[in-house]
Symmetry: C2
Subunit: 484 residues, 2 copies
């Protein structure tokens, strides 16, 4: 009798602990959608504390999914952050961090090396289709474009939406003045940014007012295609907004209480809602994992046109929390267990996580900086990641180990305060003090010693490659090596 | 046929627009519970953006109720803020704002004048019972205690929990040093704060480790009593935490990721959850309106022991948003319509709101600063309040009209930056720029003119009474005029 009851308990226990996803594992493959927005800060969604931006669709995803409050990017600016997400590796490992330029420009010569394995290429091994809609920014010469990096289709702009500015005689001003003083006068035609399909320019200048909607239309078409052909897919939807210059569709102008920036964020929110709706309509909501996050913190130097990192310190460009901790949501009803997650995670972890879910072995010929987050997603188990490396240029500025973060070097996001080397490093407990206000280095020499060991082990297996961002040449400008 | 369908539509329309509450109006009276916490900042709940404090019970109330993101207190420090809530009037109208002292101290002579009508007295007119559990801080001499201000019962401490400090020879330090350096060494017995029941001291020093739980026990007893006697009630539950010194019950120590401050906030959260649970168990959740808010912003000068205002500027003591905008939740399933509310509201509005719901006419012999928020609560109608007055000491420092806020005077919360008079005033759009970073006065002379008119009209009906906070006398110390 006792033994029978014991067996029942055991069975019940197994059943309860069994990851939610297990029931799908042998039946339906999981699709992956990553919505990666540009320059949105930790505090820019209502569910992350913004008082006047209203993001009901993303907030609903928070309610139904997991809200990650300690989720990081691989770098605090565009190009290296995107490289990190797609390769599962710190960008310092593949040359996409530089001492000279922080991102690719229209006259940059290089791109993500062909030797890198992108998430698209990785998931292909399990028969996934792969699509990118939106901003690439990993090299715009033909060899470097997404369709040469494992993506089946590409619809989007090749670099940032503020590049290719066509000088306006009436706007004689510095870069920063442009945003502070003249933003109202800017038109989408002032930026000669190309819109590509595959490797072909289909519109130039891209009409940026309608891109959020058009990207979403494209994404929905992709969802519908795979509802038909039943092929599992990876969709990387990288909105180039709310990066300045800010543009919204006609109907959205002045709709938010937060000004133009709020209008843009609310348009993105509504369009993420359309994606969720399309998944539901196509009955793919139970086998699709959607991740929402941002490529780096808010661009504070663009003043009222930039977002906010909430209580986190500094923003884009900086290795303080505001530069690299992002508002992150995992959504997938029936796949992941809803809740608020304080485990550490990074965009680089998507590589190992998606690989594990899709059943693809990780490459063994290179160092990855990627942890499988699926135990946390499926059953809220504590994660394996215990450290975050905050690189800037080609230097390790800061390291987080558990709750503690040591800053070896600090510098303002875009140079508002100078480079300072700290010896001993600054030490913050970023769980107790997320705003990084109170240096506690003198109280915790033991913690500093432990972090120093982590750094030593990390540096021992780091081989700095050639700087691929440094080479620029006017003759490579304007996509001349892409067929238009 | 058409006419019949039209009538059906009309009836349906009427039904839909009919406030939810209407169905209760003639049947069951609504009870009111105000949970008023001490020194908690705008950013201290997970649902208001805190990354490492976890407040699932309050977050659940946000989900089921209304989250107000533009809700203010009547003053940025304790005594005047409490007076404002209980009287529905700016404290500058009744002498509880001073040029010398900002709050009552144990040797203060005065208290809230008997001529003031408290919410307790007001609701009595409709047959309500009234109870206060927690911190009073509106005068501790017998004549001023809550039971002489309309409350039937009182269980709590008469002033702040950091008062009556018994000098410790081993802690030779300034007030600020006490929190920064010695907090770990402080014991609940170091503060000779009395705990009263009615006008009688029942414990001294109050054991502050268990107060949150004991206050909640008392509140639940009150709920159960009125479940029995069916008398409608107003319960003012004013936790004296997370004001420093921070104390938690044994089981809570070290439980949060945010250190001692997080432990305290999470203990309050769990205990608010107990109140909601008790309402459900007693089947009073459908006819009780619960309001949660804080008396002022976080006490930033207590460093790692204080909370955070999130992205809002400054904290307690200041007339920047961080000092006076509070994380506010209205909960009452079946009474109020859930949602995120951007309408302006203040604690003073509870007076007119509760009066309207209880059916009590507002007093006509005095000026109130109170708007009835019930149309927003019942049917999310836009509110009538369009302005907020930010007083400090006896001066009008700032005024918000719609989205715009003009600062005539600024000063740091506790003197970290000096008093500055602004002429022309600083002007912020606090919807577009909640962090008050960008002065736009020169761009909007029209707005400044409009605000100036509001100020003129306001000042024309303001008669400054005697300063009741200025009188202190050691001989009045230690509750000697209260029977112990």
């Amino acid at each position: 009798m006792y033994s029978k009851r014991f067996t029942t308990y055991l069975l019940l226990l197994c059943f309860c602990c069994f990851p939610l996803y297990a029931q799908y594992k042998t039946t339906t493959p999981i699709n992956f959608i990553v919505v990666f927005v540009d320059d949105m800060g930790y505090g820019d969604l209502s569910s992350f504390g913004h008082p006047s931006i209203h993001t009901p669709h993303l907030d609903q995803m928070v309610q139904e999914g997991q809200q990650w409050t300690n989720f990081y990017v691989g770098a605090s600016v565009c190009t290296p952050s995107r490289a990190a997400l797609l390769t599962g590796r710190l960008p310092v490992r593949n040359g996409l961090m530089s001492d000279r330029f922080r991102v690719f420009f229209p006259d940059s010569k290089n791109g993500l090396p062909a030797s890198e394995i992108t998430l698209a290429e990785q998931l292909k091994k399990a028969g996934y289709a792969a699509h990118i809609v939106g901003k690439w920014h990993l090299g715009h010469r033909k060899a470097y474009l997404p369709t040469n990096h494992g993506f089946d289709t590409y619809f989007g702009i090749p670099y940032s939406n503020d590049m290719d500015f066509v000088p306006r005689p009436d706007l004689q001003s510095s870069y920063w003045e442009l945003w502070k003083v003249h933003h109202d006068k800017l038109k989408t035609t002032d930026f000669h940014v190309p819109l590509l399909r595959g490797t072909t320019v289909v519109e130039r200048p891209a009409n940026q007012n309608t891109l959020v909607q058009r990207y979403t239309d494209e994404a929905i078409k992709i969802i519908e295609t795979h509802q038909q052909d039943k092929q599992p897919f990876f969709l990387y939807l990288a909105h180039n907004l709310p990066h300045v210059p800010l543009f919204v569709s006609e109907g959205r102008k002045g709709k938010s209480k937060n000004g133009l920036y709020g209008d843009v964020v609310e348009e993105i929110d509504a369009n993420v809602g359309r994606i969720i709706e399309a998944l539901k309509e196509n009955k793919m909501d139970k086998n699709t994992l959607v991740v929402f996050t941002s490529d780096n913190g808010p661009w504070l130097q663009t003043k009222h046109l930039g977002g906010t990192a909430g209580m986190l310190r500094d923003g884009k460009g900086s290795t303080f929390e505001g530069g690299m901790r992002e508002p992150t949501i995992f959504w997938g009803p029936g796949i992941i267990q809803p809740g608020r997650i304080s485990a550490l995670g990074t965009t680089m972890d998507l590589f190992a996580t998606f690989s594990a879910i899709a059943g693809v072995a990780l490459p063994k010929d290179r160092i990855l900086d990627s942890y499988d987050l699926s135990p946390t997603l499926f059953s809220k188990k504590s994660g394996k990641r215990n450290e975050v490396f905050y690189y800037r240029e080609r230097e390790l500025y800061a390291v987080r180990v558990g709750a503690y973060k040591a800053h070896y070097i600090t510098k303002g996001g875009y140079g508002e305060f100078p480079l300072t080397v700290h010896d001993p490093p600054l030490l913050y407990n970023v769980d107790e003090d997320p705003a990084e206000r109170f240096d506690i280095a003198t109280q915790h020499p033991d913690v500093l010693k432990k972090i120093e060991q982590v750094v030593k082990a990390h540096k021992a297996q780091l081989h700095m490659p050639e700087d691929l961002l440094k080479d620029r040449d006017k003759s490579y400008n304007n996509l001349q090596n892409s067929k238009r």
